[in-house]
Each structure stands twice: as C-alpha cells, then as structure tokens.
C-alpha cells in the first residue's frame, strides 16, 4: 500500500506538469479546427481587399461531414457573386493521399472533375488556400514547441517535403484552452514573413469553440481576405448522400 502511494506521488507531478508534445498539440489543434462535431455547416461571407482598397465579395454555404477516420467530405455552395451563383464545389478529403474534387457548373449541367493539384493555391481567388479550408495533414510537417505562454503554445513547423510547398516554415500560436490555432505566420526561404492567418473572433457554438471571423493576408501583394461565419451549427445529422452527384445537380435544402 505504501509502495503504491509512493508510486502515485511520484507519478502525480509528472502527469500534471508535463507539457503535451508538439505533435500532440498539433493533433489536438487539427481536431479543434477541422473536426468539431460529426458534421457542421456555416454560411461564409468572404471579402477580398486589393491593395488599392477595391473589394470583391463571395458568399457561400459550407457543409462538412467527417466520414471514416480522418477522411471528410465538404460541400460548398456559392450564392454570390452572380456569375458563380449556384455553382457547387465538392471535396472528398482523403488524408495521406490526393483529395477528390469536383466542381458543379449549373449552366452546363456538368460535374467537372478538378485535377488534384496544389492545395496551396488560392481558394476562389481569395488569400485563403484550399488547404486552409479543408485542413493540412498534420503528418506533412515536423512540429517543434518553441514557447509556452500562459495562454498559448507557439509552434514552429517545417515541411517534410520542402519541394511540395511554398513556405520554408511557419509559426502557429495555439490557444491552450480551446486548442484553436489563433495565428499563423508563414516564412519564405529567405526568412521573410509573407503570409499570415489570424482568428479574429471565437465563439462557443453547440459546445464547440469556433472561429467565426478569420483573416488571411498576403504580406507581399498587400491583399487580404476576411471570412465571417454565421449560422454555424454542429451535429445537424447531415446525410452522406448530400456529398454525391445527386445533390450537386439538385442543391440540398441545407444550403438554400
């Protein structure tokens, strides 16, 4: 009995004090940012601001369903601008291999398959990348814990395959309470910061801390994009059927 007590006393400080490893933090952050609930939906209002102050707006509804394991399906339905209205974008995210992506062009009644390609290219002309929308595989980078403050972990991540991405490394601040990434800064090979993503507002929705306003900035081009999320809901019981051709042709009630 005494031995057991001693063992517990010895272990106690360890379990209380040991900071989670960088990989654990990133894994938790990935879950908090992209896997809240079994499914989720949000209306997104996107404003892209050019260096001269001219703005372009996009409005879309996004549905997300976690499929098997880490694989997910996304359905994005555009309401504005007028020339992309009723277009839909379907992504089957396959962790560890290429995603399957389709674009629905209503004027042609055509389900166009999109070449997998670079996920680090602009999403609908904004400063956000496809990967910012659907998440970056946590195993694609080596993560190091740089600093731990009262409220956040600061991590530095370097790509395992440097040739596959445009950054040399990035730093990300992750909230200790919610594990949501609050800010990320991307650096090029010269060590210059050129890209930044910030969570501007966080709200707790259906029990899940959720980023409801985010901004991505291209520090070189001087452009930025503000995303505002509204009507966010989790666990609405989305059917897997929605993420098929049937509901590209005929947008589901959930997005209308």
């Amino acid at each position: 009995m005494n031995k057991l007590l001693l063992l517990m006393l010895l272990l106690l400080p360890v379990t209380v004090q040991a900071a989670p490893s960088a990989d654990e933090i990133v894994a938790k952050a990935n879950r908090a940012a992209y896997y809240a609930g079994k499914d989720g939906r949000a209306d997104v209002s996107m404003t892209i601001t050019a260096p001269n102050g001219q703005t372009r707006d996009r409005q879309f509804t996004m549905l997300r369903l976690t499929d098997q394991g880490e694989d997910q399906k996304f359905y994005v339905y555009f309401q504005a601008p007028a020339d992309v209205r009723k277009m839909a974008f379907l992504v089957w995210k396959n962790v560890g291999k290429e995603d399957d992506r389709w674009l629905w062009l209503p004027a042609l009644n055509l389900k166009k398959r999109i070449a997998p390609g670079d996920k680090r290219t602009s999403f609908v002309g904004s400063d956000f990348f496809y990967e910012d929308v659907s998440g970056r595989g946590v195993a694609e980078d080596n993560h190091h814990l740089v600093e731990e403050t009262d409220s956040a972990y600061l991590l530095r991540s370097e790509p395992k395959d440097a040739g596959s991405v445009e950054f040399a490394w990035y730093q990300v601040w992750i909230d200790k309470q919610t594990f949501l990434p609050l800010k990320a800064i991307y650096y090029d090979r010269q060590g210059q910061a050129y890209r930044q993503i910030e969570a501007l507002k966080v709200a707790v929705i259906d029990g899940h801390p959720t980023v409801v306003e985010a901004r991505a900035s291209d520090l070189r081009a001087g452009t930025s994009t503000l995303n505002s999320f509204s009507n966010v809901k989790y666990d609405t019981g989305l059917s897997a059927q929605i993420f098929t051709e049937r509901f590209l042709r005929r947008p589901p009630r959930e997005v209308q």
Binding site: P116, T121, A221
Partner: protein, 430 residues
C-alpha cells in the same frame, strides 16, 4: 431556306413549361429573386468568305433566371432575350434557338420517392468524361454558338426531356426520355460556311442546309441511359442511347435533303486520380441502324470511338490537359466500295489530339486559356484561345478566337477555314 416548322411542338413545349408555373402560382407571394446577365459580343472573320458576311457575331443578350423552391418541388426558369444582328429577322424557333428568345431551362424537379428524382421540362443534359469531345453524350450541342465565340456554356443546347434518376445504394441510374428528337444546332451554312458534299464544294448562305428532322411525337423519341458508380473516387459509367445521329449525317435522295439516320450507341467510361492528375477513358459503339452493312453511301457506317485523357496541374495556377481520340469506321471495305466516284474517302481511323492550357493570374481575375484540336489523319486543326478578365465581381471582359485550318476543305475542321474569327465581349452579371 429554313423550313417553316409546325408550331405544334413549340406550343406543346410552352404548355409543358407553363403548366407547373400555373399549378404553383398560388404559392408565389414569396419575394421572387431574379438573376441573370447582360452580354454584348462582337466578332469578325479574319478573311473574307464569299458566302458569308465579315461580321461573324454581333449580339446583345439578356438572360433572366428565376427559381423557386416549393415544399416538394423546385421550379427553374432560365431564358435569353437575344438581339442578333447577324441573323436578324428570323422567326422565333425554340428548338433551334432562332429568333429573339432562347428558352434555356424551364423545368420542375421533384422526388417521387426518397431515392429518386424526376426532372421534367426543358433542361440542359450532360454526361461523359471528354473535354469538348463527346462520345456517349448524345444530348444536343450548339456547334454554331461554339464556333462563333459565344460563351462555352452555349455549346450545350437544351433538351425537352424527362430525366428520371434512381439512387439505389449500389449505383446511380439516369434515364433521359426526349419525346421528340432534339437535334444539334448544327452548322447549316446560315452563318458559318461548311463543306457541302452534294455540291462538292464549300457552301454558305447560298446553300443553307435544311435537313429533314424526325418530327413524330413519341415515335421519333430519344432514350439515353446511364449507370454510374463511384468506387473510392473512381467514377465508372455505362451508357446506352437510342435515337438519331445528332447532326444531319445522311442524305435523302428522294427529297434531296440532308437527314438524321437512326443511331444506337453503347459505351462505358472510367475517370479517376492518376499520377497526381486525373485520367479518363471512354469508349462507344455507334450502331448506325440505317446502314448496318455499311453499303449505303448516303448514310454513315457504324463506328467505334475511343478516348483517353489526362489532366494535371503543371505549376501554380497552370493546368494542362491532353486527349487522344480515335474514330474507327466499321465495314470500311463496303464503305470504300459504295463510295461514289470522285468523292474523297475518309480514313478508316480518324485520330484527334487535343490540348488544353489554363493559366490563372491576378488573384484568379485573369484567365488565359488555349484549347486546340489537331487531327493527324485529317491534317486539320481548330484553336480556341481565350482571355477572360474580371474587372469587378459583376463585370467580365472576354476576348478570343476560333481559328480553323487544314490541308483539305472537306475535313471536319478544314471545311471551316474561311470561318476563322476573333471576338470580344462584355458581360454584366446580377
């Protein structure tokens, strides 16, 4: 000149579309949301053509779209008011899109059962895996719109059809019934010159082709079937079609007019990820029912058609796609034997290569693209360069070209050499 069509089909079509609207009219106090665009376009031939005007395109188009979701059904209406200077004065024909109104969509979609959808009315139908090449997609195309520089979406002409889609767990089954044959909006000579085999030369406005269209309701129907299944991101499909050659491929000696011989097709396709890009393969057997032996020189022989395609991103915002397409004429010996003396025989194997390059610039507001067809067997080509610039979210500027050429004037693209044109347009979307 163009045959005056009986207004029966037009009337029936209109009734079919007005019916759902009237049925649900009582439900319409909801605020109606109307969208669409205004599109102004002009184009010119790059060379003179003695059978055509130099102006290849000059038009103003207003598209209006309205859709309404009722409790159990969705109504979709979309139509274009068109002022077309090049063929002004034509009477309204909803089938060919001639005249001041082109009805693009007017349909009602609902689910008769939980795992089926029914779409009734005028609609755009598309399937198959080719990029601007079609094997198993036998829905009507508007080649004229495609070649003169209208927006690419106008390549698909509407069908007046009933589309039943069934969604059992193991596949998706689509059945499209078109009660009366919807032909392509084919090249008739009215605004694009074409090779006229009867005259043995290129012809245009001097010999506008007025083909005999099968026009008996329910008797001259088209039936298209597709079965698709997605296996881990790989899309497999099987197709069948019963109908007619979509452009006038035959000739009726009695009436002296071009005709649409009967056609059945059977095919299959596969599309999926391949080596960091997308690969697709498609195959089709064209059973030319009016000339199964291949001995009738006035009707096309049966064919086998094959397609292989691959597309991938080459660099950031730069995508390239290539396709190899092969048409194999069956009963080639009979074809050669029955060919009238003096007529240039076509090859047994017609090959075609296509290339698509797309580059996005300036935060995806500027799109540069090139699509090219080149046939090593016909020794002809067709290039489609386009530039699109989004000045604002609402305003789109477009410029492009349709460049045809070839060794001979009786090949598919070679015949259009005098139609090579450039165009520019502006579109305001709302």
């Amino acid at each position: 000149m163009r045959q005056t069509k009986p207004p029966l089909k037009t009337l029936l079509t209109l009734c079919l579309f007005l019916l759902p609207a009237t049925l649900f009219a009582w439900e319409l106090p909801y605020p109606a949301e109307i969208h669409g665009f205004v599109d102004l376009r002009a184009g010119s031939r790059l060379q003179s053509d003695k059978y055509q005007r130099d102006t290849s395109l000059l038009e103003a188009r207003l598209q209006l779209e309205y859709s309404h979701q009722f409790d159990a059904a969705t109504l979709q209406l979309r139509g274009d008011l068109l002022a077309d200077e090049v063929t002004s004065g034509e009477s309204l024909d909803l089938q060919t899109g001639d005249g001041i109104f082109d009805l693009r969509e007017a349909n009602l979609v609902f689910s008769p059962t939980e795992s089926s959808d029914l779409k009734i009315g005028r609609q755009i139908l598309t399937w198959g895996t080719g990029d601007l090449l079609f094997i198993n997609d036998l829905f009507p195309k508007d080649w004229q719109a495609f070649f003169i520089g209208r927006d690419e979406a106008y390549l698909k002409a509407p069908s007046d059809a009933l589309l039943l889609s069934l969604f059992p767990a193991w596949a998706t089954i689509d059945l499209a019934l078109t009660p009366l044959f919807d032909s392509d909006r084919y090249i008739s000579g009215e605004r694009l010159s074409y090779w006229n085999p009867q005259l043995g030369r290129v012809a245009g406005r001097d010999a506008v082709s007025d083909a005999e269209r099968p026009d008996n309701w329910l008797q001259d129907y088209e039936l298209a079937l597709r079965l698709t299944r997605n296996i881990a991101g790989y899309e497999l499909a099987a197709y069948g079609y019963r109908g007619y050659w979509k452009s006038p491929a035959g000739f009726n000696q009695t009436s002296g007019r071009a005709s649409f011989p009967r056609l059945n097709t059977y095919g299959a396709s596969l599309r999926g990820s391949l080596q960091g890009g997308i690969g697709n393969a498609e195959f089709g057997y064209y059973d030319s029912r009016d000339d199964r032996s291949g001995t009738d020189p006035l009707r096309p022989n049966s064919e086998l058609r094959y397609l292989l395609g691959y597309e991938r991103e080459l660099a950031r915002e730069l995508t390239a796609g290539g396709q190899f397409y092969l048409e194999q004429l069956l009963d080639y010996g009979s074809y050669r034997q029955s060919l009238p003396a003096g007529q240039q025989p076509r090859d047994e194997y017609r090959q075609m290569l296509t290339l698509r390059l797309t580059k996005l610039l300036l935060q995806q507001t500027l799109t540069l693209s090139l699509f090219g067809y080149w046939s090593p067997s016909d020794q002809d080509f067709y290039l489609r360069p386009t530039v699109k610039y989004k000045l604002t979210d609402a305003l789109l500027l477009t410029a492009g070209g349709n460049l045809f050429g070839g060794q001979r004037r009786d090949t598919f693209f070679g015949q259009f050499a005098d139609n090579s044109n450039i165009y520019a347009g502006i579109r305001y979307s709302f």
